[in-house]
Symmetry: C7
Subunit: 185 residues, 7 copies
């Protein structure tokens, strides 16, 4: 009921210190079809559910190559995800042009998160409605990150996002103790 007072403007805080518009954008991620990612010490695997709209259509692209060493799987608003992927591609090209070495995954993830944060603090924009699983390898090994609409990011050994991702997460946590070993090693 009273939520409506505070939840239509991205720059309005609720009395409990929450930004509802950011939370609603995260809800959009939950509505998207699922995407999962796993990593060992040396490799990252990204996968997602693709349902073609009709027999005559190809499926919509939801995994994007960013650079030779980085890829991304998305859940939520595909258009927002595509725009962000393009941004990541540009950053990678600029970095390797300037420094003649591939952009470290963790660094790209921070830039992506900062770009998302800006959209949560301007009244004329809206938070991106997409979650991104960013996987890649660099000098420090293989990495899997989850970037969410709030401008936060988290590093994972294995993670799933999108609709019915809870089942996937439970499955991953049960079966992949061996991954956890690798993670600590």
């Amino acid at each position: 009921m009273f939520r409506n007072q505070y939840d239509t403007d991205v720059t309005t805080w609720s009395p409990a210190g929450r930004l509802f518009q950011v939370e609603y954008a995260m809800e959009a991620v939950k509505q998207g079809s699922a995407a999962i990612g796993l990593r060992s010490k040396t490799h990252v695997v990204l996968a997602c559910v693709n349902k073609a709209n009709s027999e005559l259509s190809s499926h919509q692209k939801k995994i994007f190559k960013v650079d030779d060493h980085i890829g991304v799987a998305i859940a939520g608003l595909t258009a927002d995800g595509r725009v962000l992927s393009r941004y990541m591609r540009t950053e990678c090209i600029n970095y390797s042009f300037n420094y003649e070495s591939p952009l470290p995954v963790g660094r790209l993830v921070v830039q992506l998160a900062d770009k998302a944060q800006v959209c949560t603090q301007r009244s004329w924009k809206r938070p991106y409605g997409v979650g991104l699983l960013v996987g890649g390898t660099d000098e420090s090994g293989a990495h899997l990150y989850y970037n969410c609409p709030s401008g936060n990011y988290f590093e994972y050994q294995a993670f799933a996002i999108g609709s019915r991702s809870q089942a996937a997460k439970t499955y991953l946590e049960r079966r992949f103790e061996n991954f956890y070993e690798l993670f600590k090693g």
Copy 2:
């Protein structure tokens, strides 16, 4: 009822993670007169329903030539479609001027989708109210894409948009198994 709280501003998320203004713009596509597209490995056919307003009027142009190798059929707000067609024409001319080769269809479609995405994330704009069937041929063969107001695009073997397009889609799916064969081949 409660939808009204979240559906008048394009940059406002609903609690369920939806952007109602984008969905309403897609409704405008459904209200437009129908357009269909089909493709084989080498050719694309675009067609649309044209009802002249009166005996003394010509019909309104709803299929536009973009370049020698690309055409577009629209459903929805004709004015928005015309403006987007002009944008596509300019992109094609610039590309062939710079690279002396025709702009690949898939690349043009992405640029078009990005332009549509921007209009879903600025509070002083509105999403385009038009769906575009973009057909064209390039080095990778013949392509048929559908660009929708949300900034998404889909590749199809055959597709129909606009009012009563469901019947057309059903017809296409039933009769054109041969197309599907070509699609896989």
Copy 3:
């Protein structure tokens, strides 16, 4: 009743995919005093109803010369029409200065329609409240176009706009079958 939720902002879509503010602007055209246009293969005739406000006033100018080969008759907000006529005049002058040939009628009509479309997609503007019958002759013969506030345009053999234009349209359709012959020829 519920329309009011969606019809006060030009950049707000209604749930049924309509832009009410654009439709209301078209209503302004219907309230203006009538204007009609007819064309043969070689000539265009524009006419409009002019009621002087008082015995001592001249009538308000509602037909404007744009260039030697183009004229325009308006219905609706005269001030908006005058501003658009001036825009058209400037475009014609620039074209003939650059290319040393008159601006083709169809090309001018598209530019005019694009200018109108912009006003339907910015939250701080309003759609023009005027309909324009643009008549002119160029290398491809005589043309009669109707430009409406939505950013659409239509080619006609004969057309009428403004208040009680329906009667005029019916009359035109009945009596001018010969025009239709010319149109096809």
Copy 4:
């Protein structure tokens, strides 16, 4: 009652195709003290009612000289009228500086009307609340125009604006048939 939905924003159309804010601004002209203008073939006379606020005050200036050949009488918001008069003076000076001949009256009136039109199509402005009777002589003879807040202008042989101007208009129409003769001549 329901008018209120559409009449507080200058860029909002009513369902009947009216711009209420423009009409309200015209109401401000009706509230101002009266001004009248008459013209023969060679001369224009402008006059207005001036009531001093108190015995110790001079009256407020409501007739302004624009140039040697042009003057203006206003009804409505005096401050708006003064600002527009200054604009007209600047235009006259610039014209005569550039072309070494006086600015034709009709041309100035159009520029003034265009300036007024802009204020009816920007959400952060308001229509001018003043009506202007512009009288002047140039090579084509003597002219009397009425510029109203909507951006329209009308040429008159004799006209009255402001509060209780209806009586003045009736008087003018009855007594000045001779003026009408001149007007046609």
Copy 5:
């Protein structure tokens, strides 16, 4: 009651053609402590009521010297008045620097009024909440003007503004017939 529909935005006209926000700003002048001005042919006297806030405070400055030949007394928002006085001072300095003669009083008053008018036609501003009695002498003799928040100005022989100024005005009108004589002479 219904006034509230039209009286919170400075750029919104009421149906009766009034700008309530401007009228409310004039109310602020009436709430300020009184200021009066009188003039003969050669001199102007400005005076105002100054109540110190406490025994330990000096009174707030409400009469400002603008230039050697011009002074101003204010009623209403002192901060607004001070800002406008500074503007006037700058204008006087610039004029005398450029033309080596003092700025005529009437000319300064018009510039001041134009500055006030702008604040009544921009949605992001508010009208100044101050009335200014501007007194000064120049080649054409002594002058007393009243500039009000609406952008209007009036010339007076004697005038009073601020709270309970009506009594002062009545007194001035009764006793100063001799002033009126001077005024006409």
Copy 6:
């Protein structure tokens, strides 16, 4: 009750000619912890109540040195006060750099007041929520000013602001008749 119609926007006048948002900002000064200032002919004393938030914290700085000859004590929003102090410091440095003499206290106070006034006339800002007691000495002796959120300033011999300052003011007025003598002398 009805106040709410006029008191949420800083640029909206109430029907009684008041700016409620400015008055509310002055309320913030009353809520701050108290600050007092006293002056003789040659010295100014500033003092304020500082309550540390906890045993382990230092108290918050509420008296700032502006220049060698000027200091300021604040009550209300400390962050606003600190930003304004920094502004004052910059002004002092620039002045002494340009003129090789210290900035007179009265002049600094006017600049500060003008900065505050601007925030009461722009719709996208808010008035500063801080009161400043500015004390300093210059060629004309010692001065104590109070700058308030409305853009006004007052000179005092002794003054107190902030919560429960009324008791302090009463005390000051009773005991410091000797100050008053100095003030007049």
Copy 7:
């Protein structure tokens, strides 16, 4: 109840002189997981609670290194905290590049507070939703500051922020009298 009138816009004062949006942002700090800081004369210790979202995730980074001599621990919106940390890092690098000495902690804290204050005075932004414990050492010894969303900062000997920080604060105050000795010494 009535609070809602004043608490959705960051630039709107409540009648009691409060900025509710700033207070709500401070509430976000209270919702974040706890962070604490302690300091002796020569060292600062920062610590925070890190709960990993799942067994397969690493924890989210909540302590950032700013420079060799400065670190920060955050509670609240992690994305806001990360953006501010980056700002601090840039300031430190610029300072040491220009002056070849490390940026004093107190100076950095003021710049950070000023950046936060700006977000409380622009209608199109929102206050940062993060509290920062800034710890560092410089020539004047070891320092611990708390920067809060309102633009205020406080120096502490020991402090805790975030959810259930009250217990931590009580613990710190009881056990660390020895710290207090150091603080005074």
